[in-house]
Each structure stands twice: as C-alpha cells, then as structure tokens.
Amino acid sequence: MVLIALAFAVFASALPGFTTPFSLFAIGRQIGIDTMIGLAMMAVIVTGGLDLSVGAIGVSAAMVFGWLCERLGLPLAVSIPGALLFGALLGAINGYTVVRSGVHSFIITLASMSIFFGVMIFLTKAEAFRGLPPEVAGLGRLKLGGKVSALLAVSLAACVALSVFYRFTTLGRRMLAAGANPRAAEISGVRTGRMIIACHALTGALAALAGLMVTARTGAAVPSMAGQLGQDWLLPAFLAPVLGGTLLSGGRVAVFGTLLGAAFVNVITSGLLQLRVGEFWIQACLGLILLAAVLADRGRHTILRRRGLV
C-alpha cells in the first residue's frame, strides 16, 4: 500500500500528464482488468496448484458471450451469466481432470490451454464478434463520478464478494482448508476432491468475467485479446496475487492484496510508459518485479516456517 502511494506520488510529481482524468481513468480500467485476472489465478493458487489456461478460458468465454449476444440475439441478462457459466464449466473440467488423474495441474492446464484455445479458434475461424450491443462498449467507457472506470468498480465488487466468500461461507473456508493441508482437511470431513474442482471452477468463472471486461474495453470479442493461447494473461495472473501476498503453496489468500498488486504493477507500468521507457523494456521490468515479489514471498514463507507454521 505504502509502495503504491509512493510510486504514485513520484510519478504524479514527475509527470504532469500522470494525474489527468483520462490517464487516471485508463490506469484504473487496466487495474480493474488485471485484478480480475489475478483473482482468477488466486482462486486456484489456493489449492497450491495453478491454471495456465486462464487466458484461454477468458477468451473462450468472451467468444461465447459474443456468440450468444450477436448470433442468438440473447439479452445481456442471459448472455453474461451464460458466459460465466461456460467459464466455470471449463474450469471444472480442468479441476475434474486434475483430481481424477492425480497429475499436477500444471501439465493438465498446459494441455487444456492448448485444447480450449484451439477449439475456440477453430469454431470462430479467428473472427471477432464486433456487433455487440452498445451497452457493452458503454460499460467499458463508463466513468463513475466522472473519473473512476466502471470496470474497476466491478473488480472492487468482486474483491468484496470474494472476501466475504472466503471468510463467511462454509464453501470458502473449506477451499482454504483443502488448500492448506488436503490430508488434514479430508480427514476432518472436507471433500477435498470436490473442493479442488470447485476452486478450478471459480477460477474459470472469474477468468470468464475478466474476458468480458476486456470485451467491454475493446467493444468487441476478439480471439486474440489474450495473445497466442492466452499466454499474455499469465504474467498479470501471477504478478497480482503474488505481489498481494497470496501464498503460492496454497491455503492463504489476500483478496485486496491482489487488487493492490495489480494497482502497483499498473502505476509502475504507466509511469514508466510516460517516462518514455520503451514499451518493450517494460515487459522485462515486469519480469523483474515478479522475481522481486516471489523473493519477498519466499522471505515471508521462511519466517512462517521459522515460527513453525508450515
């Protein structure tokens, strides 16, 4: 938090263009999207696993959304839940395969990322859905209170909902228990296998939501919005939760930390951009930030271990 404020202050004072309403709006919108991607990955990191296919699921869900709206002419009230359900379904398939095969989620989701993305491209012929209802693009442009992106508000709402979920619902608590120590949770009457599937499904739904948010920003459902195989989402997906303090070994989440992590990354990125650091070098910087973040995570973990918690 202090870091973000500091970075923000530095850039704000150094760059006159940094605090213009438009700049803030653009940063906020991107923070909103990155947060959602990060939350999606966080939901599966809870289990100590990961999901390489978040990008592929996000894009696929966005394309399903486009298809429901544009081809079938369904109202948003149907097509949005439809897309989210579709994402959850894909996630559940991942989870089911992981649980049944006993193979690490890395290799399963590596394969499913390829399959989901391949099927999506095959079915859409790599064509975008551009004739979406104007409300979609409108949401992407919507400024609440004249400054704040509606997408950021969506992510904030998701953060609140997830915090409540993990703290005040049986399902959320069980997910955390199953993630922290599957064997102990199982013996205490938690159905660990189902929890892992549920975590993957939640990841899928959140990834789908992130896909819809990107669609809202561009005003169209574009198959290439997350890069080849959806790989472009991988870095934000891990950066935000890890920076935010989610334990990679599972069992502990930091929902608002993920939001702060995404905020930190975007403030730095846009600051560097406006300082005219080449766009490409920023990618390398992001890699370095991730490295620094995991080193910090490791430090925390070592402290936890010294205190006998792991």
């Binding site: 922290a180 120590n181 949770a185 199982e186 013996i187 006998g308």
Partner: protein, 508 residues
C-alpha cells in the same frame, strides 16, 4: 581409547519446544550403543544433529576427539558418519550398485561411468552383508529388508566408522532382524561404532552394549553398560516412573448394542477377516507394532481405503462409508490422526479454523454463510473444557505447543459431537502432563457415552486406558485380551500374540 563420536552438552530449540537440553552421547569404536527414549524425547533431533541436518544451539560434536561442525549432510557423510533413516533413501529407479556407489560415480561431473567396475565394487559390499543379489537389479525390485541392507552397504562403502540406525527393525520380520543383528555384530567386531535406535527393548538387550536414554529432551542416562541394567530400570528411565501403573479400576464391559461393528472385513491394504465391535461408552484398544496395519484399518473404517470384503455396521445398520466426510456427517465417526502435522491439523490456520472445521457444515445457514461468532459459541466451551492454552482463538495453531495442538485436534471432534472417536497414537511427542490429561479425557469421553477405538503402541498407555485390547499384527487381529490393569499379565499376553504371529513368519 578415543571416543569415535561424542556429543557434548548439546541443546536445540524449536519454536515452542526445547527439543534437546544439555544432552550428551559418547560412542566407543567397536560397540553397539542403544539410543532410547519415548517418542518426542529428542532422539530424532539428536540424530539430525549428528548427521548434519540440524545445527545445535549450544554444545559440540566431536569426531575422534576433534570438534566438528557440519553445515549440511554432505559434510557428515564425508567425515564418515553414515545413517540409515526410518524412511528409505534410495533412488528406486537406479540399480543397487549405482545407489551404493552414488557418491563415487566418477571423479568429476563429466566423467564417464564405468558400470562394470561400479557393480563389481558394489557386489563386494553386498557380499559383506551376506546379500547375494545382482547389483544390476533396480532397487525398486527389492523387499524393504533388502533395501535397508543396501542402505547399510551404501553407508559402509563410504568408509563409515559411525553408523546410525533409526528404528531399523520397524518393518522387518524377526528372521530378517536376526540377520541384520548378525551383520551389525560383525561390523562392531571390525571396529565400527553403531548407534541403534529402537522401541523394542528385547532387541536392545539382545544386541547392544551400552545405552543412552533421553527423556523430555534431557539425558536420563548416558553411556551406561546395559549389563548393569534390567528392563525395569531402563523403562523407568524412559518414562520417568515405574512401568506398571494401574490407577484406574477395570471397567465392566458395556452391555449395550455395539455402535460400530466390523464383520470379516478385508481391505485393499491387505487386512483380512477383521471382526470386532465397539459399544457406546467403551474404550477398545488396538495394539500393534509399527506397520501392523492399525492406522490403515482406521482409514478403511473412514472410507479412505477400499473395503474388499465383509461388512461394517454402524448403530446396527449396514454402513457404506465412502469418505471421511460421510463418516463424520452421516455416521458421527471422527479420527484423531497419529500424524498431527500432516493429517491432524492445518498448521497455517487459526485455532478457531481448526477447532471449527468439523462443524462448519452444521452451523452454516441455508445459503452456506456462517460467522466466526457462531463457531466460537460452539467451540469455545470445548476449548475451555480441554484447557487449551492460547492467547486467542485467532492464534495460528502452528505457534502452540505440541500438547495444546493435540488438544485442539481432539477438541474438534468433541465439538462435532461424534458418537465414535478413533484415536491414533494420541500422546506421541506429548509431554507427560498433557499425556496424563489426555488419558483422563479419553476416559471421561467414554464415561459420557462416546465409543472409543484407541490405537497405540505405547504399552503402559494401552494398559492404563483401554477396557479391552485387540492385538493386531500383519494386518490381521491375532487375539483379544481383557484388560484387568495387571501390567505384567496383559503385556505378556499381548506380546505372546504378536510373537506367535512373528514365529510363523507372517508379518508384513
């Protein structure tokens, strides 16, 4: 004569526990030294210090009179200290010979390996151990006993002068153990200093020359010749009091209908023809040595291990328990695991998160929501009743002492109000006071009508707590003993059943 290995005044603390407090150990070359102590007395910590896995907070380790400080296991190995740990440390896909010679496959990283020479060299060490098997065979094709010998061979191949064996006979049959002892005696006569850790006192008296006993992280004795001691004296040093204790009067067997009944149960883990029953208010003890199949039976009751035959009845009706969740929610069966850290508790989570895990489902409202307050209301009385010492219920449970952790892992089942509680080695690594407290607690639970299945390999505990004792060995029930609290009689009856099994060579 210079001692082969000395540990002088070593202390080691872990968060919340002082594992070793001013402990000394002296090993003479050409002798077999027993290291004894109850679970949690500090034996493993001492071994880990000698083998370079831990560094002592205070005190020193001397090898042939020279002070040494090992930063990692490699240095200990290089100094000639070999260890055979409880878990097997072999690369199972590699050949026997390659495992034995793993340290010396070649002079440098890129040297080509001469397998002919390696296997010839390995064969020499195997022959020394009377193990005439082809060193080219993969380790994965060996029996557990053979793997153990291969590990000893591997240690010897490194010019080991100090050999530590941690519970080497835990998974061996008596015949295999005798073969091992013959080899150890021969090594002793060749001048090797051997440390032998075992729970089986008969073996210790049979094999060892001197003994060091640890209790609660301190020396109960150090380097005493075993011929000066008798069994009673050793046991007294280990548990700090006389072995025979019969505080509680024997309880008459309940006449109520059984809560849990097993009829000719067989499992995929290898159990066969298991039949017994547990009535409400009754404490049934299940005695057996490590590897007898007791915890596996508990897991079969919980549905984690597949039942391949027979019938399990709960409260008189046939029960199909598919998972621990079924066991808890449908049949009111709970299980306190022997492995507190891996299976009992979620160390990363709070006291509340652990104590309440069994009741979340029951306490949540229709939408699956629940509040901390509700859980606290439900679990706090139990935590208070069990005198769990914690600054607050939000304290991370990993920060509590072992005794308090164990209380929480029992408390969660009491909070869930289970009808049958399976308790597996409840007092391993627990201090004496909490141990006595837990015994009282088990008793009180039974008095209140809970059916209890107590699994333990701690004989005094078994005699002190159980009403009726089943003896398990080789995944089968070998006999039953009515517990009249007469330690001599009951323990001999139990050992008789185990020995009977052992002499037929049927142990797994």
């Amino acid at each position: 004569m210079t001692a082969a290995l000395e540990v002088l005044h070593a202390s080691k603390s872990f968060p919340g526990v002082k594992a070793l407090d001013d402990v000394s150990l002296t090993l003479q070359p050409g002798s077999i030294h027993a290291l004894l102590g109850e679970n949690g007395a500090g034996k493993s910590t001492l071994i880990k210090i000698v083998t370079g896995l831990h560094r002592p907070d205070a005190g020193e380790v001397r090898l042939n009179g020279q002070a040494v400080g090992f930063a990692n296991p490699r240095q200990a190995v290089a100094a000639g200290i070999g260890a055979v740990h409880q878990e097997r440390n072999l690369v199972t896909r590699f050949s026997i010979g390659e495992n034995i010679m793993l340290e010396r496959l070649g002079a440098h990283a890129l040297s080509p390996i001469d397998y002919g020479q390696i296997h010839a060299e390995a064969a020499k060490w195997l022959a020394l151990l009377d193990l005439y098997i082809d060193p080219r065979r993969p380790v994965s094709s060996l029996s557990v006993a053979q793997m153990q010998l291969v590990e000893i061979g591997k240690a010897l191949a490194l010019q080991t002068r100090v050999l530590l064996l941690d519970e080497p006979t835990a998974s061996l049959t008596p015949n295999e153990s005798q073969v091992l002892f013959g080899i150890l005696r021969r090594l002793r006569d060749d001048g090797v200093a051997i440390v032998f850790v075992s729970h089986k006192l008969e073996e210790v008296f049979d094999l060892c020359d001197t003994v060091t006993v640890l209790r609660d992280g301190r020396n109960a004795c150090s380097g005493v010749p075993l011929k000066d001691l008798d069994r009673q004296a050793v046991v007294k040093m280990m548990i700090g009091r006389d072995e025979r204790i019969a505080k509680r009067a024997p309880r008459p067997r309940a006449e109520t209908a059984p809560y849990l009944e097993l009829k000719n149960v067989a499992t995929s883990a290898g159990h066969r023809d298991i039949s017994f029953s547990v009535r409400p208010g009754e404490i049934i003890g299940l005695y057996g040595l490590v590897g007898a199949g007791r915890s596996e039976l508990a897991k079969a009751i919980l549905g984690q291990i597949r039942r391949t035959g027979g019938e399990i009845r709960v409260a008189g009706k046939p029960a199909a328990i598919a998972s621990p969740a079924d066991a808890l929610h449908k049949y009111g069966i709970g299980y306190v695991s022997e492995d507190r850290k891996q299976e009992g508790l979620i160390l990363l989570h709070s006291v509340l998160g652990n104590a309440g895990i069994t009741v979340w489902r029951r306490l949540s409202n229709a939408l699956g929501f629940l509040r901390d307050r509700t859980i606290i209301d439900h679990t706090a009385p139990v935590l208070r009743q069990l005198e769990v010492k914690t600054p607050s219920v939000y304290q991370t449970i990993g920060n509590l002492s072992g005794g308090n952790q164990q209380k929480v892992s029992v408390a969660k089942w009491i909070a869930a109000g289970v009808k049958l509680l399976i308790i597996d080695e409840p007092t391993v690594g627990i201090d004496i006071k909490t141990k006595a407290y837990l015994h009282d607690l088990i008793h009180d639970l039974a008095e209140q009508g809970t059916a209890i299945l107590l699994i333990t390999s701690d004989m005094p505990e078994m005699v002190d707590v159980a009403d009726h004792i089943l003896v398990m060995s080789g995944f089968a029930i070998k006999g039953e003993v009515e517990n009249d609290r007469n330690y001599e009689r009951v323990s001999q009856a139990i050992m008789g059943f185990i020995h009977d099994n052992a002499s037929t060579g049927a142990a797994a």
